[in-house]
Amino acid sequence: MEEQKKTAGLLGREEMDAAVRCREFALAHGAQKVRITLDKSCMDLFGMLNGELDKVTHALDISLSMSLFVDGRFGTFSCNRISDKECEAFILKAINTVKMLEPDPARDLPSPDRTAKDAVTGLETELYDSAYEGIGADERLEMAKKSSSFARRSELEHGFTVISEEGEYSDSVYDNYLIDSNGLECRHTETSFEIGYEATVTDKDGNRFSGYWWDAAPRLADLDISGCSPEAIARAAAQIGPKRHKGGRMNMVVESEVASKLVNPLLNALNAYSIQQKNSFLTDRLGEKVFSEHLTIMDFPRCAGASGSRFYDSEGVATHESPIIENGRVSRYFINTYMSNKMGMAPTVEESTRAAVIPFGGCRTCEELLRKTGDGILVCGFNGGNSNSSTGDFSYGIEGFVFENGRILYPVREMVVTGNFITLWNNLAATADDARSCMAKRIPALAFGGVDIRG
């Protein structure tokens, strides 16, 4: 007798059986291949405004998505009513729609030898906290109240006034069930607990400054409930008294909280959709050394208990630990089954799961990184701007502080950083080792030399 495996989460057997029936119905009515994704989530949020309960939200969602392969043609469909009657009518309409498209021989399901076999119960990633099941509305309200520091703001106010403190506590459970007509069956279940606060303060002249801080964890015990509000207030107050700085070619240190802004364009440029559309500055660079030899970005998708871990991608392809950029060399494009067939390249995974910049340079904290760097601009936030995906040129508004001899001097405003990503990442000087555990991407504070910053 097969051992009953422990499961948790939101999806019941009845709902998963409905997904299986959708697959079989589609196969029986004209589809040759089918992939079904069933998502269900529940979220409760208690929002606070100036220390008082301001908003309560309860959300329960279910969504059924279908990828249909019909006579060499392909379409995607989704609905949130999953009774047999509703789904069957929807599937018939969907199949008729697909039949009207042009054939696309590159469309296919992933080969079964590439798909995940070890995501059976949904609990393998160890991201589900059973404590979630014991949390009621009263406990949520208590945590939301505890998260606010508005009542003791006078202890925090030094030369400024807190005029608004807005934040929220939320928790959620997410359940994903993925099947296809090649025998794929995967499940992923996770809980998430979050606190986020935004504070607005005024200086003695009435000028407003805002700050934001947040924390999240898959387990409630790891959530910093009371630390976010004071940090948001401190961050707002730290911006009082900004000065203009004429800028120039300078060192730039980017806090870990916002450093992903500079990593995401690299990851996007490695996506096969961008490559195939000739819309990537890393087209035809696979295997080449493009960046500083100090830059290594790894994908660590299977770290048990770590935020963002996932055993399979949206096609069900198994994830693996792998280098993305290794010692400056482009090691991997993200190529799904479709793009693999279209480009004639071996498939990998749809995208990175938990990209991590590997620390180097011996600094542990951002403060140590500032001392090592000496002088420059510490970037704590990006404000607008964009990058050109074809050329890698970028220009972003920044906010942060001038630092000299490793010490922060004063805040700056209305500054922009301009450059090209290939040049920027070739000027990577050092990193800290302070990536935030609440973020799926593990990006520490980064120090670059010779960056064009203007004010």
Partner: protein, 505 residues
């Protein structure tokens, strides 16, 4: 488009008596306002890539959001089923805002009696400073259906088979490619949606509406002399499938190649502080981001906006009037009713340089003691409504575009921005210039690209020293992402800001 009431009651499988009961349930534990928002949305999309339409899909979304207010506090829950039991559970969850965390068990009650008792209570009146301290009712009744229909739809999207859309996409592909041989990749996407909405609230108002939206986006990658550039253009309207005509094909083709020669030649200019001329139309996104958000009443009610203490004050030149408008027929931001059942309307935020109105939902209107401005919007039934813009634009002035450019000795002319961001408290903004030119001695000279314009919203508004006579509302598929995504549009005449920071080499 507005169908008879029975159409909506049938889609959502509810009776008017059940609507009353659900709203009553929301009020039962002490709430002072409650409303229901039923939504049935059908989406469709087709994608042309590499010359063939090989990808497409259909999607549907269905559910009801239930909101309970207690003062300015909000309780919100939703159900993806319109079964009475599921909706009642959602109403109980939303009503928790009124009684603390745990809503107790339900009981029998007379829903209409509760609604009327709540709304007739004396404390439902406020003394409004804006109304000569006369008592103003906290809750405001909107106009009954039928309202003005601002999105006529002669060809219903959902009734057109996908194959009938293919010729439009293929024709667009051919028309664009015929314009420029440097195009190496082209993607064209057609998306449409039709949303049936039914709203009911504790003022016993019943509103219903069917909202169409069609959008076409064309993206092209150009290659010349080893250099690659990309451009994207979109058009979006609240109308039916009749929008897919030859005129639109020609417009998209013309627009996407327009200025591409300059883009290949464009360079980053020297940075610094200088005058900036914003071209008419799409650069109105700066108005939306840098000023419009700061006029949204929720940010002001919470003291977070840089304009929180500025109502009735002169904040810019007398030649400037800024409007948020839900009444432009077929416009992406047009609304017969907002998502709280308040009629769509035209709101002057700044009139002749004076801040005259914030953008209100029902909560902020009660707080300020004014009439809601029809800006209570939401992404879907999954979200509670908050103040949001519709079509935001500046009225035209007296100056010609040519005279404005001629008045600048050295500066930047911006055709189009992208990726703008603003800090509401400080008013600081940064915008990426997609296309533009240097202005030297009163003439447009070298093309520029990939730079940022940075400044401060109130300061930039006060620094506008010329307003063109060429107001233009852009018809691109603009989407505003303040907590939730909603369709908007924006516009501006040619304007001259006397000094902004330009980030360059």
């Amino acid at each position: 488009m507005i169908y008879p009431k029975e159409y909506y009651l049938d889609i959502f499988q509810v009776t008017e008596r059940e609507l009353q009961r659900l709203v009553g349930e929301g009020l039962l534990r002490g709430g002072d306002f409650s409303d229901l928002f039923f939504e049935n949305t059908a989406f469709g999309n087709l994608v042309l890539r590499d010359g063939e339409v090989t990808s497409g899909g259909l999607h549907s979304d269905f559910g009801v959001g239930i909101r309970v207010l207690k003062g300015e506090k909000t309780g919100y829950a939703y159900s993806e089923s319109t079964g009475l039991a599921e909706m009642t559970e959602a109403a109980k969850a939303a009503s928790a805002i009124a009684c603390g965390a745990s809503a107790g068990p339900g009981k029998d009650f007379d829903a209409v009696k509760i609604m009327r008792a709540v709304h007739d209570k004396a404390d439902n009146f406020v003394l409004s400073e804006a109304n000569g301290r006369r008592p103003v009712k906290k809750s405001f009744r909107g106009s009954p259906n039928p309202a003005a229909d601002r999105y006529g739809m002669s060809t219903l999207w959902q009734n057109v088979p996908a194959e009938d859309f293919l010729p439009f996409l293929l024709k667009t592909d051919a028309a664009v490619r015929a314009k420029d041989s440097r195009i190496i990749k082209l993607t064209a996407m057609l998306s449409w949606q039709v949303t049936d909405v039914l709203m009911y609230n504790s003022l016993e108002e019943l509103k219903y509406d069917t909202r169409p939206m069609g959008s076409v986006t064309v993206s092209a990658v150009f290659s010349s002399g080893g250099t690659v550039e990309n451009r994207s253009v979109s058009r979006s309207y609240r109308t039916g499938a009749e929008m897919l005509d030859d005129r639109l094909v020609a417009e998209l083709a013309e627009k996407i190649v327009s200025g591409i020669d300059a883009r290949f030649d464009a360079r980053r200019p020297d940075g610094g502080r200088m005058p900036v001329v914003m071209g008419a139309g799409a650069s109105g996104i700066l108005l939306h981001e840098a000023m419009g958000h700061a006029f949204e009443a929720d940010f002001n009610r919470k003291g977070q906006s840089v304009f929180s203490d500025c109502m009735g004050r002169k904040i810019c030149g007398e030649s400037i009037s800024i409007i948020d408008d839900g009444t432009i027929k077929g416009n992406r931001g047009a609304l017969n009713f907002d998502d709280e059942g308040v009629p769509g309307q035209k709101t002057f935020m700044v009139e002749n340089g004076v801040l005259t109105s914030y953008l209100h939902d029902r909560i902020s209107a009660r707080y300020y003691g004014v009439t809601p401005t029809g800006n209570g919007r939401r992404e879907s039934f999954r979200y509670n409504p908050i103040p949001r813009m519709r079509a935001t634009y500046m009225e035209g002035g007296d100056a010609t575009r040519e005279s404005i450019i001629a008045s600048v000795k050295k500066g930047i002319y911006v055709d189009e921005f992208s990726n703008g961001q603003v800090k509401i408290g400080e008013g600081d903004f940064t915008f990426y210039v997609k296309d533009g030119f240097l202005i030297e001695n009163g003439r447009l000279t070298a093309p520029v690209k990939d730079i940022n314009i940075i400044g401060n919203g109130p300061q930039a508004l006060a620094d506008i020293i010329a307003v063109g006579n060429d107001p233009l509302i852009d018809e691109g598929a603009w989407t505003c992402g303040k907590e939730q995504n909603v369709p908007v549009s924006c516009g501006i005449p040619t304007v001259l800001v006397k000094s902004l920071t330009v980030g360059g080499e």
